[in-house]
């Protein structure tokens, strides 16, 4: 489709003189631009702009020796239990009977509230994901520790009592 536009070449030269054709070089660039943009679109879609990041997770060494277990003050501890259907159950200290329910959004206020009331050296958050929690829930909870600048936290499995209590609560609330 490249066009060679001819200019008006009527000249005042004699009849025997050959006309020198002056061609204005107008190349139609539409297909080229099309191709260019097609390739751009392809590269935009195939490029992963955001590099994956990574979060550090340090677990404690498993010890059978009870003396080496981390001691936590009852007054300074907050236990978050991650259940089915993105629900978080929490209680303070050993007060399992006063189990309360919240969501991942509401978790921040509860943690900050506890943080403001507790001396920093006593504060300890225990994360207990149960069997029905997803990996996303665990990462969200660990991330929340980073966001709220909690330096002391641990991830533990819930006890059998706690798990049955969660299941009862879930049944009562009808969470599938």
């Amino acid at each position: 489709m490249a066009e060679m536009e001819e200019k008006d070449t009527s000249s005042k030269k004699g009849p025997g003189v050959k006309k020198a054709k002056k061609a204005a070089m107008h190349v139609d660039m539409t297909p080229m631009v099309d191709l260019g943009f097609l390739l751009i679109t392809f590269f935009i879609f195939s490029t992963t702009m955001s590099q994956p990041t990574s979060m550090n997770l340090n677990m404690p060494k498993d010890t059978k020796d009870q003396n080496q277990d981390t001691k936590v003050k009852e007054s300074g501890s907050l236990t978050l239990m991650l259940g089915k259907g993105n629900v978080v159950y929490y209680y303070y200290g050993n007060d399992l009977l006063h189990l309360q329910t919240t969501t991942y959004k509401g978790m921040r206020n509860i943690i900050l509230d506890k943080k403001s009331k507790t001396p920093p050296e006593d504060l300890f958050v225990i994360i207990k994901p149960d069997k029905d929690a997803s990996y996303k829930n665990v990462v969200d909870a660990l991330d929340e520790m980073n966001i709220d600048d909690i330096s002391r936290y641990a991830m533990v499995d819930p006890t059998a009592d706690e798990y049955s209590l969660i299941q009862k609560t879930e049944q009562a609330a009808g969470i599938q």
Partner: protein, 219 residues
């Protein structure tokens, strides 16, 4: 009365400038492109506020997909030593050809008994096979074998142990992977996530602001 003639203009837009821009962008995207890793295992990682880049070298990654199947992959130079360790642990024989084929395979997602057969396939044939995942139940914990091999092969080297889980992965599976690492005395992991903004006004945000003001790097 002579009427004013409306001149018919040819609608020829000069596309040179547009073309220039298009190709400039094209060059940029070609150079900046980092191709998505092959989608043999599709995983959508959760978000976190961490801004640390995932290690790109000397890694050993355990991937858990949404159906709780487990796959491993590793940094190219670690492949041969790890396979040799696996051979020692399981009394399997790997010929130089097997090792070569293993180096050309991206993901390990099969029971060991089918490993050689799969590795020997061509790239197109591999694409057609659906990987069933590495068995990790207590009677036949091959994931543990792989991790033990990786730990042994990377002794004295700085190897990062990455865990790449899907949003929908069950915690129980993640826990089993952690257990397998802990049996080998590995307690530090990198969880692969997508970057997310630190919520404004949160504790971490305030801390970062203080760090920026005092001229330090934010966390």
């Amino acid at each position: 009365m002579p009427r004013a003639k409306i001149q018919k203009k040819a609608t020829h837009v000069d596309m040179t400038a547009m073309c220039d821009v298009a190709f400039l962008l094209l060059t940029f995207f070609i150079l900046a492109a980092q191709f998505k890793p092959s989608s043999a295992v599709e995983v959508i990682t959760p978000n976190s506020v961490s801004n640390k880049h995932a290690p790109e070298m000397n890694y050993f990654t355990v991937t858990i997909d949404k159906d709780n199947n487990v796959y491993v992959d590793m940094w190219q130079t670690l492949k041969a030593p790890i396979l040799k360790e696996v051979g020692e642990l399981t009394n399997m024989q790997f010929s130089p050809a097997d090792i070569k084929a293993f180096e050309n395979t991206e993901f390990v997602g099969l029971p060991l008994s089918q490993l050689k057969q799969y590795d020997a396939l061509s790239a197109e044939q591999k694409d057609k096979v659906k990987l069933p995942g590495i068995p990790y139940d207590s009677t036949n914990n091959q994931l543990l074998t792989w991790i033990t091999a990786a730990v042994k092969a990377s002794e004295g080297k700085q190897t990062s142990f990455l865990i790449r889980g899907d949003n929908a992965t069950k915690y129980t599976t993640f826990k089993k992977v952690l257990d397998a690492f802990q049996k080998n005395d590995i307690y530090k992991y990198n969880l692969m996530t997508n970057a997310e903004e630190v919520p404004e006004g949160s504790e971490l945000w305030k801390k970062n602001m203080r760090r920026i003001r005092s001229g330090e790097k934010p966390e």
